[in-house]
Subunit: 423 residues, 2 copies
């Protein structure tokens, strides 16, 4: 039997050491050079899409032969419109302010020292993802603009597409005199390579796994370096006694139906008992009309027809589909306790016109984003004003919620004096 | 043989679960209640010091019997003056602004959504430390003020002192109606307890190990949750060709001699060749007069007497003592490369009146704090304006440099709308 790890170890070590070296150079590259690379890559993507589409069709053929589902094939598929969107994504990142060198805080101390807290890159980021090829350019663009070197590891099923994208990304790096190892790709599909990379904390500063909860748990268990985690999005909307019911209905429909497969779609609805009799029937009708399956508590089932019985598993579920759980609660505090028990700390909303209730909900619910009279779908890097995002963190350490350019940076203190001594 | 881990596991689980529960309550405690607890604890420390001193003398006796060094005994020892300083530390934390609920950023989005990024506690902090008893009250005060529950695990040699301090801390919690499990202590000196706690990432949000590099490496290897790390402080001062040599001498003496055992003391001096002949002899004289041993490169040895030969190990060393390494460099860039190779990313300084050199050094040196014409000793929470600190991070993730109250918090987004939908 071949010891795969022994063969892969030097490959991984070289990859990581090269990335560290590139990161050191990248940290000092000026914004205009980075932006030029982003725009040149966007142009190259569009200009040379014929080759890219061919590589993609190669992956699609193989995926079809392997019996992947139509949904999986759709994720993997590139089209001219999707390539144009990838290019637009890179141009949007070019238009964002550079997080490196930004002054986060600063001031003069009583002894005259000028203290400035300044944004710096994290260093080397290992990015693990699945089949969508657009993640390759999104991740490379955000990492490079924030001055970080990135090691990309996409899904096996997208390997030809990603190899082509990687060649294109590095070619534009070389044209502009940027370090070629700023964007690298794990050159093997062997699973063991990831295990080895996760131990190389002398080179790799952060891992971002984008995928299912089991992938993330595996990475957390093995990684010696920090992990930016996005576990689950079990988002709630609580309709308070003092809610505007028209608004509540509109927001629920938006949060459930506008894009049901994403992490900030609502999965669970809580309704105050005082308005349940009036609201549940119209809500059920509105949801049923849009093809949403409802699983509810006994009380909701007595108020409207066509509602299945909700189990505890339903209250905990992230459906990512046109299904929603529905429960009547006695009051605001029962809603808060329910969210604490079943929620995932991602996004939770209250619909109310009662100021005290809004304040209490916003204060007590411990989620990355708490919405008052707005759709859960707004927990998104672009919508919250961060520009692009690389993911939404359900963690509390370093970054929480949408992670944009700033969240991919650290900082240093630059202290200027004129001979100050410590006494 | 008894399976210690099997016995300890339920104890650790209970401890961690209780902490999580306390953290949930603490997150919503008002600032004035937390400050009252800090002041009441400070008063109790001073008022009831007789019992505390007795517990401490118990530890000291045992430590003497175990043959601990005089330096170790001194670390362990409490005196009325030291107790008064501990009380003052708690009162200083009470006087700092509450990081929980502070608005970090905010604004109105084009669609009218009001977005606020608000400070929240991290949750549960496991704090591992050594023999100094003042760390017990410092850590408890900073964690509680930042709304976090803390699990304390001090050195075995301080166990009676720490048990007494813990009783005092929890008694004042109970008096003010705060959750008793907000400050807990690992109730066993068994080493295995730490190993178990490091796997409980469902309850514990952060570990802070304060101790030697080997302890920290062990914690990083075992912990499932993030670790706030302080590895080493190998701090440099580079004296540029354009330095004010009087200022350089004063700063070097301050950085080396004012408190040589701490992490922000200077350990390595780099001198530009253009000024070496004039500066090295006077610097050597000034250092020797203060009892500092110098280990230098061949060129420095030819310029002054009494300088031993520096090895690579010397350039890498954190002496924490009255020893310093000294090297002549060709230019600024050689100094930067040397710091990159041997430094620890903690604190590095340049002494110069050349603006371009100062800018390049501050930009290129990747350390938590870069000083221009100031002593390395200023990398400290109080000196940089953070108030108190729980340690200095040599990490780049979450917090870098001094960690005060803000660095013990995360944030959430609170988004207020009037019915906005995502389109």
């Amino acid at each position: 039997m071949i010891d795969v790890s022994a063969e892969l170890r030097p490959v991984c070590l070289q990859l990581a050491a090269q990335a560290k070296d590139a990161a050191r150079q990248l940290a000092c590259v000026r914004t205009d050079v980075k932006d030029r690379w982003l725009r040149a890559t966007a142009d190259a993507l569009v200009d040379r899409q014929a080759d890219l589409l061919q590589a993609n069709s190669h992956d699609l053929e193989q995926a079809r032969a392997d019996g992947l589902s139509e949904a999986m094939l759709d994720r993997l598929r590139l089209t001219p419109a999707r390539i144009a969107a990838m290019a637009e994504g890179l141009r949007a990142v070019a238009a964002l302010p550079d997080p490196v060198g930004r002054i986060i805080e600063g001031g003069v101390r009583p002894n005259g020292l000028l203290v400035q807290k300044v944004g710096v890159p994290l260093g080397v980021i290992l990015f693990l993802y699945e089949s969508r090829p657009n993640v390759t350019t999104d991740a490379a663009g955000l990492c490079l603009k924030s001055g970080n070197a990135v090691i990309l590891r996409g899904g096996k099923e997208a390997q030809h597409t990603n190899a082509h994208l990687h060649a294109l990304l590095t070619q534009t790096l070389a044209q502009l005199g940027l370090p070629a190892h700023a964007v690298q790709r794990v050159p093997t599909t062997a699973r063991e390579a990831v295990g080895i990379l996760l131990t190389l904390d002398q080179y790799i500063d952060l891992v971002i796994p984008r995928g299912g909860e089991s992938l993330i748990r595996r990475v957390v268990a093995e990684a010696r370096m920090p992990v930016l985690k996005h576990y689950r999005g079990n988002c709630h909307i609580y309709v308070d006694a003092a809610a505007d019911l028209d608004m509540a209905e509109r927001i629920i429909i938006n949060a459930k139906c506008q894009r049901p497969a994403v992490c900030n779609a609502v999965e669970s609805l809580l309704v105050h008992q005082a308005i349940a009799a009036g609201f549940v029937p119209r809500l059920a009708r509105a949801l049923h009309e849009r093809g949403v399956e409802i699983r509810g508590c006994d009380l909701t089932r007595s108020l409207a027809s066509g509602i299945a019985t909700a189990t505890e598993a339903d209250y905990a579920a992230e459906y990512n589909d046109l299904i929603v759980s529905l429960k009547v609660v006695e009051n605001l505090d029962e809603a808060i306790v329910h969210i604490e028990r079943f929620g995932s700390g991602h996004t939770d909303a209250i619909i109310t016109n009662d100021l005290a209730a809004a304040r209490r909900f916003a204060h007590m619910v411990d989620s990355a984003a708490v919405m008052v009279n707005a759709s859960t779908r707004f927990n998104d890097g672009y919508e919250l004003g961060l520009g692009a995002e690389i993911g939404i963190s359900t963690d509390k350490f370093h970054a929480r919620g949408p992670c944009g350019l700033n969240e991919l940076t650290s900082y240093k203190y630059i202290v200027q004096g004129d001979g100050q001594l410590r006494s």
